[in-house]
Symmetry: C2
Subunit: 342 residues, 2 copies
Amino acid sequence: MAAVTIKDIARLLNVSASTVSRALKGSPEIGRETVARVQETARRLNYRPNKAALSLLNARTRTIGVIVPNLGYHFFARALQGVEDEARERGYTVIACQSLEAAEKEVRNVEDMRRSGVDGLLISLAQHTRDLRHLKELQGQMPVVMFDRVSDALSFSRVFVNNVSAAFGAVEHLVKVGCRRIAYLAGPADMMISNHRMEGFRMAVARHRRKVTDARVVHTEFDQPTAMRSAMSMLRRKDRPDGIFAVSDRVAIGAMEAARKMGIAIPDELAIVGFNDEPIASLISPSLSSVRQPTLEMGRMSTRLLIDQIEAGEGFRPVIRTYMTRLIVRASSRRGSKPSKT
Amino acid sequence: MAAVTIKDIARLLNVSASTVSRALKGSPEIGRETVARVQETARRLNYRPNKAALSLLNARTRTIGVIVPNLGYHFFARALQGVEDEARERGYTVIACQSLEAAEKEVRNVEDMRRSGVDGLLISLAQHTRDLRHLKELQGQMPVVMFDRVSDALSFSRVFVNNVSAAFGAVEHLVKVGCRRIAYLAGPADMMISNHRMEGFRMAVARHRRKVTDARVVHTEFDQPTAMRSAMSMLRRKDRPDGIFAVSDRVAIGAMEAARKMGIAIPDELAIVGFNDEPIASLISPSLSSVRQPTLEMGRMSTRLLIDQIEAGEGFRPVIRTYMTRLIVRASSRRGSKPSKT
DNA sequence: AAAACCAACGCAAACGTTTGCGTTCACGGG
DNA sequence: CCCGTGAACGCAAACGTTTGCGTTGGTTTT
């Protein structure tokens, strides 16, 4: 049970602990033969440096904390994978937890992370986080990087996609397949990504104002049941939309569900485009058009920025990285032309 | 940047570090007034005990490691949530990572966990893990609990559902809706959960042998494309099955996909039942019948067992906890009677 | 042969916290 | 007045590791 320490090796070989320590890292100060004996013994005894001792010495844990809204969203599970990959390569450990979209839980998560002594924090905001004090406190205290669900009220590094042009492209696509009354099924009113996508939505509508006769925005939540109800009340109106751009795939699927219950045909009476291109998008029927992000790469990059900042120390300015997206067109928004596979 | 330590408080109050330490835990050895002053100062300075120092002292990290095949499977994401809840309540930190169903990665994960000095390990095996040496090594070294994807070749505590009777119930259900040629779309041949479900499958077939004219088992993998190909080659045969019980929802969805491509109607020509009842089961169309497990509770229980074992020390015998499942019948296996909602 | 040098190693402090065992002081009892 | 007592606190070691600065020998230089 008791782990083998440097002292054990030292005692066994009749040398001092410092010699063992140096020998283990192949210091030139130590004799060739001693180095060999130490390393062999260490291997034989399965020696592992005690992390706590190292942390104590360096005042660093080589651990980063990750807080995401929900690992059940494939987007975040995948991003986390990128985070883990990069972290491992740089010799860091990852401790992850979920806010479950609840602001209070996010605050607790941050608190836990601080207590755990992480060297840095990677966070994607819960949908209802408005009060940012728990993060503001960290400024100047600990390196922080935000990704996807970011906020520009904080001066942290940020990684996200070009939401404006992504939304613009998606909405323009809806126009091109013939939609005339287009709705944006948005997230909470104060979320940056939701608002940026709204801006793209508005730009596309403006650009095609001769074709688009109606454009509206409906705010809802990221969970599917709520999204479905919002979509339903919207679709009940006389002048209901014939095209929906949704802030996420979950929300889009909520809208599809609503349409199905009301007997509205997709894509003919209602075309839908989602966001994130989760695997489920190609599984449901009709398959869902969606905007794809380089999720894995974004997780990697966020981690790279974070660790760079950790290792750079004080002199590090916040950095912003934006990625390009790609619209994947599927059955939910394919009209007129002959249907093809996917 | 530099965190405030006990020494800082001591210096500030002109007392010794030991006094501060004792005062912080309200030791009766310390004067009332001193305790008050220390605690007030600690709060004001936002003092947090240094985890590394504590770990070094107690030879414990109050951290548990979790290794799951894939957080993209909703089942594991949800189980992790149960783990986090329980761990937080007991004052433990969780570090999670994914094997991505790859045995080598699982070995690396275990290695990382050991290096991180976790107090215990919670693991659900990758589908291709046959060589269990990396876990066998841990016996007697560190508390380990396995869940869902367990193995009885190791003497660790285990948490899982009654796979035999769950499978029995699912297959019997298929028989009752009229299936006569039933197939079990299994996982890899040496996986315990897959084999237990096979046993239930066989028992149900035996029980209804007067009705079931054909029963077969096809082994495949947990990823959907592979599962789809396996299903396709099975469905191409002249005497193709009219009922499929799949080892997981992903595999079941692969089978649905295969059926769709081949123009086989679900549920009329082919009824399907999956396992896990992931959210996607009710989203796809037709909606998928599936066996539901108490996932959250299983995550919680696994963690409880693990922490109990950690805190009990040597004298702890492995424990086995099994949970009951519930078959959720949906459109993919509903025949004959009038269709109802869900 | 003395001085200088180098290779090879040991000593001890430091990181932050806890804890067993002092030490100090005031006070009460005899 | 002296001793015992107990309250309130300090000292120092310990956990495992690293690292600056010794301290040994022995070998080379002049």
